[in-house]
């Protein structure tokens, strides 16, 4: 292992490390640190705020208004399709940023982020299933698939699933808990690099098989679908759609702010140090376990939130979300956009998914060639992704 272990750490010098220099949030020598909330919001520079504001105006005002107020048929009308796809991509973007926090900044490649995403989705999906009430195919108290399995009462892990608040708590806690337990053992045993990637893949695969089982109690292969309402409001109404879209946008912006804060803080710099030379960090006296575990758990939690927002928008959650391919794809979004930058993963998620949407219709028989070629080309010629290319172009002009 040793000759190669070096290579895992030696990422090309990218934004993460040098952007963080001189940011106030991470300055240890400051005698009186500003309150957290101030540090949280000041971590984002002015231009970043400009960008966020523009994004907020677009996602929270302009698109919803064009969807709700402009009548269908008008060329300015934004269709429900655009809103759902946009919402879906923003959820993916949150996952991509979460992945970037551990891969780009901490050098841990997880091939199991689909698991946390799906767990969040399933937690919220349980609530959505209970909200169907008696409107299912069997008009019964229990969700349809349980009626079908001849179950007479809810299993213990469905207790409280009709409470919205409890669903939200589960969305936040459950993926984090799974990540915490798994991460604790994995990082304590100092499993790293490719080994870590592969056991996360094994974990996700095992979870997928478990959820595929009908007896597990999560609807088997069909998963959860045919949702009717949230908090009593119809899920297919334009208002609800726009609300979910807006919430996804807000979640994405908060994720970016949090990412910015973390990566520019002392915590973030220790992480990058672990990424680049874990042993040295240990020799200095830090325990990498705590840092890795913290960012790993946080990343899982973000995925859970994204999953919970994703499910009501696409209308289905099933074990397919935990397939190995989906988790690999998350890593690909990050790579395409640019690792160790925060905007990169967002761009990556958008570019890959939009090109998928486009190719699957324009060249249904050949789109995998384009997609495959895109991945190869990006890794070969754009090691820093789209953002890296952008930097290079700007650098050569200047």
């Amino acid at each position: 292992m040793a000759p190669h272990a070096r290579k895992f750490g030696s990422l090309p010098p990218t934004g993460g490390a040098h952007v963080s220099l001189g940011r106030p949030g991470g300055d240890m020598t400051m005698p009186n640190r500003a309150p957290f909330i101030i540090r949280f919001f000041t971590a984002m520079p002015k231009t970043g705020w400009l960008g966020l504001s523009a994004f907020a105006a677009l996602a929270l005002v302009l698109l919803p208004a064009l969807h709700l107020l402009v009548p269908e048929g008008n060329p300015l009308h934004v269709s429900g399709y655009v809103i759902t796809v946009g919402g879906k991509i923003m959820c993916y973007a949150i996952v991509a940023v979460a992945m970037d926090l551990i891969w780009g900044y901490a050098g841990i490649l997880s091939l199991g982020h689909g698991l946390f995403f799906a767990l969040g989705g399933y937690c919220f999906g349980q609530y959505l299933m209970r909200q169907i009430g008696h409107d299912g195919a069997y008009h019964a108290d229990l969700p349809d698939f349980m009626v079908f399995l001849d179950w007479k009462s809810l299993p213990w892990y469905w207790v409280g699933s009709d409470s919205f608040a409890f669903a939200l708590i589960k969305v936040l806690v459950l993926p984090a808990l799974v990540a915490l337990i798994f991460g604790f053992f994995a990082f304590r045993s100092r499993i790293k690099g490719v080994y870590f990637s592969i056991i996360t893949q094994a974990l996700t695969f095992a979870a997928m098989l478990l959820f595929f089982r009908n007896e597990t109690g999560f609807g088997g292969n069909n998963g959860f679908t045919d949702f009717k309402r949230i908090l009593g409001y119809g899920i297919t109404t334009p208002g609800m759609r726009v609300t979910l879209f807006g919430l996804s946008a807000v979640a994405l912006m908060l994720t970016l702010l949090l990412g910015r804060y973390l990566t520019t803080s002392k915590f973030g710099r220790v992480l990058t140090a672990i990424r680049d030379a874990e042993s040295r960090v240990m020799f200095i006296g830090y325990n990498p376990l705590h840092y890795k575990l913290a960012i790993w758990t946080l990343s899982a939690m973000l995925c859970g939130i994204a999953g919970a927002l994703y499910v009501p928008q696409v209308g289905i959650i099933n074990p397919g979300e935990m397939s190995a391919a989906n988790s690999i794809e998350i890593a690909i979004w990050v790579a395409v956009g640019g690792r160790a930058t925060l905007i990169g993963p967002v761009i990556g998620a958008a570019v890959v998914n939009l090109s998928k949407s486009f190719f699957t219709q324009a060249f249904p028989d050949y789109w995998l060639f384009f997609l495959g070629a895109l991945f190869v080309a990006v890794t070969l010629w754009l090691p820093d992704g789209v953002v890296g290319l952008w930097r290079k172009l700007r650098g050569s002009k200047a």
Binding site: V19, P45, K46, T47, G48, L50, G51, A54, F55, L58, S79, G80, Y81, V82, T84, V85, G86, K88, I89, A137, Y138, F145, V147, F148, L149, L209, F212, R213, N214, G220, N221, N222, G223, T225, T236, V314, G315, I316, N318, E321, T341, I343, V346, I347, A350, V351, L354, S355, S357, F358, T360, Q361, P364, D365, W367, L368, V386, V387, W390, R391
Partner: protein, 423 residues
Amino acid sequence: MQNRRNFIKVTAITAALAAAGLTSFSALAADTIKVGILHSLSGTMAISETALKETALMTIDEINAKGGVMGKKLEPVVVDPASNWPLFAEKARQLISQDKVAVVFGCWTSVSRKSVNPVFKELNGLLFYPVQYEGEELEKNVFYTGAAPNQQAIPAVEYLMSKDGGSAKRWVLLGTDYVYPRTTNKILRAFLKAKGVADADIMEEYTPFGHSDYQTIIAKIKKFAGEGKKTAVVSTINGDSNVPFYKELGNAGLKATDVPVVAFSVGEEELRGVDTKPLVGHLAAWNYFESIKNPENTAFIKLYKDWAKKKNLPNADTVVTNDPMEATYIGIHMWAQAVEKAKSTDTDKVIAAMAGQKFKAPDGFEIEMDPKNHHLHKPVFIGEVKADGQFNVVWKTKGPIKAQPWSPYIPGNDKKKDEPDTK
């Protein structure tokens, strides 16, 4: 510090890309009727679904060659939902709301249908679903041209219970663990119980998706069959696992004369991937076999073989036709007839015109769309595998039988209405 400034620019680029990606496909011509085709061309289901895409394109071509529908040509819009269930919903929404298709032909797996159902309901679209399925569903916006359990599973089991089928007394219900096998087996278990089969004489066994090692299962079947009385296996194993299953079956020496296996998901297309010589005599139940002899079927087979040659499909010289392909063919023709009748592609008008629609199908019968329950009345055939990969029809119903989407063998279904809820 470039990173920060990039933020705004990149956000703008993303938005522009989004706009470009989403709006580039809007309706263009108005003198054609757009028809959506929603079958996976990549991913795990491509094995089965690509043939349906070809059948749909072929049928559309056939209709266009005869002048189209209401004097307009049909224009197929093919998309690839890539065996990804959320993507099915997204693509369905795209077809209906962006491309403004009049109807969608598509889906194979139950989960893909469940995924798109809410979309069709919300946007009042029209879906034709061509595959045998578990029932327990009746959507206003969907027409089911494949078999319901009473049009496939129950006749097959009845046949195996009969003298000619070998008077089976013990039953192995074997399937992939998903909703179609689960429901089918639930119905069959209730049916067998009603026929006096004891619980101890039924073995239910499920394998995960893509399972490829059937040694243990075959050993279990042998053990079960060794406990006396004639045993039959009812297989609802999903497409991809069938090759390893049948290879193991052939090599382990379980002959059809000892333990017959009747399958509901194995047709001519699936058998193309297997050496069928050791499998002679094992059974399949369908509403259509390529080996059925009648003028419609001969024409249908020729049509598809010519199409395969013309389009230069891989292995064009050995293409076969199967049940879901026939169901696709019937569905498209019936839809075209209904549009002619309704003189409109409006969903509600077409749904009304579909009721009682008749079509002379390749299965040799003039089959009818039920006036109410959105399912076809279909004949049932039971075929034995022949050495050449075709089926030898050994039993068939006298005529088409009506579908029971709500199986009477599932408790509570007796209260169900045999037509979609209209609210």
